[in-house]
Symmetry: C2
Subunit: 479 residues, 2 copies
């Protein structure tokens, strides 16, 4: 496609081709572009601005609970990576290897980090001395590489941007509490910043992180009723400490191994946001992470006073510390409306000569398309109220989608029917066996998403083997 065609064509309706609709939005809202290197993506200014907002909010949450940022080397010697067997087995097929430095072949090849547990452990091995230094609550913002075969913007990419938290603690209880705290942090972030409800739960042994004792997850439901794993938090016990010889002198003056966690969330959250809120006119962004929260569009801007009136509105809203843009370019108002709809700007404020006469402006909502005329004196209060309403409405619609498409089933046949039909989350009992989990994949075409933290405690039957059991579990088709 010629480069000047890209923006002109309409996007594919989601009912026609959900995958194409998604990719269209990623490209036409100018969030990402493909790169010359296969499977990699470019975060363009508008996409990166969303990521900056995510980072700022989430980093603030991490710091409030005492976490500090660090930067670990991006390359990991193969011998170091191999010290913990399960981790390297899990990641080896996806590792990119540096084998040459300048013109010289390296004696030992170096892995581009797929995740950094090994580097943190190696550092702690060198510096940790006493229980007085615990806990160490570290985080880093960086990119990682996993050599995926099939890729899609934000959802699965050979390089992606993320934060990885890594902590060590004096006791197992403290480490488990950290794992839970950070899972809740992700869920709260999704609710308050992304207007996205999630199911909090624990992964099965089959689905957990390589090397972890327990993996917790938040699972969100997209508009096509597929699941998107949106953040994970892992408890490692003292397994890595032992493998990497991380020790401290305890209160009893004896050498001990600390207990460890890690937790991560990625640019995938932007993909989650797109597939949770957007529509056939383009992106829909929750106000908390929107690069532009309000766009001011002057109407008949060549008429006397219109540009000044529009600028005055912009300045009043900017004074509220909102992210505001005025578009006084030569494009038509109609072109501008379509443009900022495509870009998902939550509110559009219009003002023209007629509005000026009536001392009013018009405010249009991106989420519902509703327009209201607002006396200029009420601008600030109305905009602030509307931004909150937009957030709440986006959350309510996403919650309805989640609730309407979560089903309680007792047989695998029902689950299969759901998976082959409109999709959704199937909630069943599960006996806990790997066999039955694999059978659900084979027979019903679903993977286990999580055992929700909120367990009903009731007794029922495993939909595969029919054994009596109490564990609730979610199944679905996942990205």
């Amino acid at each position: 496609m010629a480069k000047d065609q890209r923006n002109v064509e309409a996007i594919t309706p989601m009912e026609v081709d959900f995958a194409k609709w998604y990719t269209d939005i990623c490209l036409k809202a100018e969030l990402v572009d493909y790169a010359s290197v296969k499977g990699f993506m470019i975060l363009r200014p508008y996409g990166y601005a969303i990521w900056e907002n995510i980072q700022r909010i989430m980093d603030g949450m991490f710091k409030k609970t005492g976490h500090v940022n660090v930067a670990m080397p991006v390359l990991i010697p193969e011998s170091l990576l191999k010290k913990e067997g399960e981790l390297v087995e899990g990641f080896a097929p996806e590792v990119a290897w540096v084998t040459m430095g300048g013109s010289e072949k390296l004696e030992e090849r170096l892995a581009f980090r797929p995740t950094s547990e090994t580097m943190f452990c190696d550092h702690w091995h060198n510096v940790l001395q006493s229980y007085r230094e615990l806990p160490m609550l570290y985080n880093q913002w960086c990119s990682v590489i996993r050599w995926e075969k099939t890729t899609r913007p934000f959802l699965r990419s050979r390089e992606f941007w993320w934060q990885e938290g890594h902590t060590i603690h004096e006791t197992a209880e403290e480490a488990i509490a950290e794992t839970e705290q950070q899972l809740n942090c992700y869920a709260d972030f999704c609710r308050d910043a992304l207007a996205m409800p999630v199911v909090k739960g624990r992964k099965t042994d089959k689905e957990k992180f390589a090397g972890a004792e327990a993996t917790y997850t938040i699972e969100a439901m997209m508009k096509d009723h597929k699941a998107l794993q949106s953040g994970t938090s892992h408890y490692f016990g003292d397994k890595f400490s032992r493998a990497y010889d991380v020790t401290f002198t305890g209160r009893d003056n004896k050498l001990q191994y600390p207990f460890q966690t890690s937790w991560g969330s990625t640019t995938r959250l932007i993909g989650a946001c797109i597939m949770t809120h957007s529509d056939n006119n383009g992106l829909v962004l929750p106000p908390a992470i929107a690069p532009i929260q309000v766009v001011v569009v002057p109407v008949a801007q060549h008429k006397p006073g219109v540009l000044d009136a529009a600028a005055a509105l912009r300045d009043r809203l900017t004074a509220l510390e909102l992210r505001v843009k005025m578009d006084d370019s030569e494009q038509s108002p109609g072109w501008k409306y379509a443009q900022y709809e495509m870009k998902g700007v939550p509110l559009r404020v219009e003002i023209g000569p007629k509005d000026m006469e009536k001392q009013q402006c018009c405010i249009a909502r991106r989420d519902t398309g509703e327009k209201v005329f607002v006396p200029l004196t009420e601008l600030e209060a109305t905009v602030q109220a509307l931004l909150k309403e937009v957030h709440d409405n986006l959350y309510a619609m996403a919650e309805k989608n989640l609730e309407d498409n979560t089903f309680d089933f007792t047989t695998w046949e029902e689950v299969k029917e759901m998976a082959q039909g409109k999709g959704g989350f199937a909630r069943t009992k599960w006996c806990g066996s790997l066999e039955c989990e694999l059978a659900m994949k084979e027979k019903a075409g679903v993977s286990s998403r999580c055992m929700p933290l909120k367990q009903s405690g009731t007794v029922g039957k495993c939909p595969v083997c029919g054994k009596e059991c109490t564990t609730d579990i979610y199944w679905g088709v996942a990205y």
Copy 2:
């Protein structure tokens, strides 16, 4: 060295061994640690917190002048890197190559970015259409790899963290103005955030960036009178645009090549700060980038009311949006004083029972060691005034060092004597020939630092060939 010995030993005095003094501070102030992979460094929480402050301030400056952040892929296909001959020649010896993805050998090897001009050009080739979209003012914060043979924390490391700005413009004049603006931005940042004076100038052809038409630099003088290049800004003309086929439809409706700049500054700025301000008691940090600006130390903290009084001071200073820490650990006040001196905290506030009686506290300055007793009612005003004084004093001392050790010379023998003696910057005339520049290296042991933007306009003689010329140039021994 056993890991529990590290903090106990005193640091090497700078007069005894400047290089060891520097490394001691890096390690004992817990800024960095060495990693298992040779030539790489770990930014520990305290070091990374300094980098976060640098990033926050500098990013704000970039955004004020209309720059936006993006993220480009970290790996560059070899064929793409090779399109511009000078660039790849300059960087090829230092590139780390990824040759394996998972278990498969890649068809084309991929360079870990040493710098990203090629990626930006490739992206612009794909997206740029019209002069209306210009200028594109992009920046990214990331790490890069250059496979250096000898490394030192912050100064020269195989991986380092930096920002790289990349912009394209409709005209050469605009691009040149951008190059100058960003050089001034770096110099202002060094003055206002790092309390560090710099010499602004232009690099000789020999010293300029591979592929650039012109490279501008800021050069700072360290306490050992060596030069540290602390930021560079490059003008490329339309050379890369032509090599990468970046075009736009101009106002005349014809295809044109945009004019390009790039500019970068790195974690090296932390090293610059250490060698500009620190002393034999450890780190000295300018308040703007200090992770902790004020530490509150309770004296005789077991006595009734002391901890509450100290906490009240902490809360009052925190309310000023200062970065404040209270240390109520069980360590002795003497240990704490030494600890926060080592860490370069600009101000220490002490309060004990006697102070409480007198309704006062004691404030100690890190830069001068001065102590003043301050009535509690004057806490806020005094702390704010002192922080400004600390900054101004640090700047004044650094400026004195720069001025006292910058010399006007007319012969290469004088320059040699300086270089072999106490060091410094030698300002001479220069005929402009590569031969004389190389001769200065060989005979006097110095490299050209820059041709200062402030040229005197006087006529003099080249210290090597004796030709009459007007160009002023700085020479020195550089890191």
